[in-house]
């Protein structure tokens, strides 16, 4: 491997470590917020907030730890497919639950 390439990889790894630490800190912060919101006893709104925070945490894991950020547009859109599907399935189920 040429010296220039090795140097570039070292820089990328260093940046990568920093990114992982920041992503981890973000997950810890979001967990703290979830716990904090639970103590406020907000009822249904609390559940909604918890779900939004959980989705954000899943997004952080996917983007940084599972490297979705660095993947091609195609793979990123493939990831969106099950998200859309899950949304549609839950939506259709709730058409029943809400109007029953």
């Amino acid at each position: 491997m040429n010296p220039g390439k090795t140097e570039q990889l070292k820089t990328e790894n260093k940046n990568g470590e920093m990114t992982y630490i920041l992503a981890w800190a973000m997950l810890v912060a979001l967990t703290a917020i979830t716990v904090g919101v639970y103590t406020l006893h907000l009822g249904t709104a609390g559940v909604a907030i918890a779900l939004v925070i959980a989705s954000l945490k899943a997004g952080v894991i996917l983007l940084f730890f599972m490297h979705l950020r660095q993947e091609s547009r195609f793979l990123q859109s493939v990831f969106l497919l099950p998200v859309f599907l899950l949304g549609a399935i839950i939506g259709l189920t709730f058409i029943d639950v809400w109007y029953r």
């Binding site: 497919l81 599907l85 549609a88 399935i89 259709l92 058409i95 029943d96 639950v97 029953r100």
Partner: protein
């Protein structure tokens, strides 16, 4: 080369293992395809036996050969085995495993070891299902749908049967993952998306359904196990659960599963028609996209299984409407198949006979599906033999007839030998007549109000039940003829040569049976499949 002039091909693959171990530990996609083929047809034979016993019991009202509890176990096991062990794995794991890599010009699938692992999961799931018959407090009696709250409350061996379906689901997911990766990553140079054979398109669409829908079944069955073992109230209203939620979750998987069964069968049909009509496929892209459309829309129609469950009126209307949309891509396929044959130079051999039967029977199955998809008529026939007739016309008349067509079509490639054409046609005739005698009376019985899954019935229903039971014997005769012919021909048939049908896709451009790793050199593709115009060369023109 043996005394018949047939190359041993992949049957003589190099390796340290011999005998059965060279099969059950092989990572060659062709060997795994054949492993699956023998496994699924072994389970099919068991499922057929349960079906015959059910029909025999129903030949007359009252007790004929077994009591009500045993009858409940019969229809549960018939359903579980036929659905989870035969028709869902069915064509993709056997013919798909064998031919998809050949048709895209690959040496194997992307993950050969995962391919083998999926077969082991399949066998484990099958053994667990069989074990559930003989352990615990008797075989499960819930029907293959495991509906809550009965599946939570019954004392029979539901946990083991449900665990079996869970493991089988893992096998299905791994196969889907493998096939999608293979089709994306391992196509031969020049094999663009729209130069792929349409069987590959259908396997591709199926694989997406396998990956995205099966986990929903897995988690649902897991919830049933947790509720049974730990008393958590997910589905049982007595514990605060919602039984309709179970039906939603179950059918969110199990309706797309119908497309796992039928889409690959449509792919087989699309391969056979151009070869036996000597014409290119009419509307290649329309057929390819209709596979993806069926797979996509198929996710959103599950509610039509639940019109009488107590679901909301709004949901019933929405699901009924979406159900009708599925008829559009299905209709596109049927019209394109017929148009592909128009003005063709048609050769009516056994594979095409099975395909023609498929189009006829699947059309009846599809059109009766519209009666079930419409809210008002659904209420009349829900839970009756009409549903049983409809389902068997789609799955047996559709998926299984196409499977048999594919078996005959690709038999020379798999074995290097030809099957006996006259016996194959005779078997087809028995199957076609027997099938209609067995299942058509069910439409009338259902319309007249005979409920399904009941052990007994009113005396007025007996004549049609007798016709149906006699039909089951004719079908059984046809099946024996079909498999006896294929097994005998595998050993004694005449040498087939590499391309006995004059096929144009890549599997016909290698020897029969194909060598280990399929091709001496990976072909370079210069045009699409199904080209029978002599001025343009034939089929997948290779450089």
């Amino acid at each position: 080369m043996n005394e018949s002039g047939i190359q041993p091909g992949f049957y003589a693959a190099p390796g340290s293992r011999t005998g059965i171990f060279s099969w059950i530990f092989s990572t060659d996609h062709k060997r795994i395809g054949l492993l699956y083929l023998f496994s699924i047809f072994s389970f099919f034979a068991v499922g057929v036996c349960f079906g015959l016993l059910m029909r025999l019991e129903l030949i007359a009202p009252g007790r004929t050969i077994v009591g009500p509890s045993t009858y409940n176990a019969f229809f549960t096991l018939h359903g579980v085995i036929m659905i989870f062990l035969f028709v869902i794995p069915g064509i993709p794991v056997s013919l798909g495993n064998f031919f998809m890599p050949l048709q895209i010009g690959a040496r194997d699938v992307a993950f050969p070891r995962i391919n083998l692992l999926s077969w082991w999961f399949y066998i484990t799931g099958g053994l667990l299902a069989l074990l559930s018959l003989f352990t615990g407090h008797g075989p499960p009696d819930t029907g293959w749908t495991f509906y809550a709250p009965y599946s939570i409350r019954t004392g029979t061996n539901v946990v083991l049967a449900v665990s079996a379906a869970f493991v089988l689901g893992m096998s299905s997911i791994l196969t889907g993952l493998n096939f999608i990766t293979t089709i994306h990553r391992m196509r031969a140079p020049g094999m663009t998306w729209f130069r792929m054979p349409l069987f590959v398109w259908s396997v591709y669409a199926t694989a997406w359904v396998q990956i995205l829908a099966t986990p929903i079944l897995g988690i649902t069955l897991l919830l049933v196990i947790i509720e049974r073992l730990f008393g958590v109230g997910f589905f049982d209203p007595a514990k605060g659960g919602d039984p309709i939620l179970y039906q939603h979750l179950f059918w969110t998987y199990s309706h797309p599963a119908v497309y796992i069964m039928i889409l690959p069968a449509m792919g087989v049909v699309t391969e056979i028609i151009p070869v036996f009509s000597r014409r290119t496929v009419f509307g290649y892209k329309a057929i390819a996209f209709s596979s993806m459309a069926i797979a996509s829309v198929g996710y959103f129609v599950w509610g039509h299984h639940m019109f009488t469950s107590g679901m909301s009126d709004v949901a019933r209307v929405v699901f009924s409407f979406i159900t009708f949309i599925v008829a559009i891509p299905s209709g596109v396929k049927v019209f394109n198949w017929v148009a592909s044959m128009y003005k063709g130079s048609i050769r009516v051999d056994a594979p095409l006979l099975f395909v023609l039967a498929f189009i006829f029977l699947f059309s009846i199955g599809g059109l009766t599906g519209l009666i079930l998809g419409a809210l008002a008529t659904n209420i009349q026939v829900h839970g009756t033999y009409f549903v049983v007739g409809h389902f068997h016309y789609v799955i047996f008349g559709g998926a299984v007839f196409a499977f048999f067509g594919g078996l005959h079509y690709w038999f020379p490639k798999i074995t290097g030998r030809m099957y006996n054409e006259k016996r194959a046609r005779l078997a087809w005739l028995f199957l076609f007549i027997g099938f209609n005698a067995l299942y058509f009376p069910m439409f009338i019985l259902g319309w007249e109000g005979m409920p399904r899954r009941y052990y007994d019935y009113l005396p007025k229903f007996q004549p049609l039940n007798v016709v149906s039971t006699v039909g089951s014997w004719i079908v059984a005769t046809g099946l024996i003829l079909l498999f006896a012919n294929l097994l005998r021909s595998a050993r004694k048939g005449a040498a087939a040569g590499p391309n006995p049908w004059g096929g144009t896709t890549l599997e016909w451009q290698t020897s029969s049976p194909p060598p280990h790793e399929n091709f001496g050199e990976i072909p370079v593709i210069t045009q699409g499949p199904y080209i029978y115009n002599p001025s343009k060369g034939k089929g997948h023109g290779t450089a």
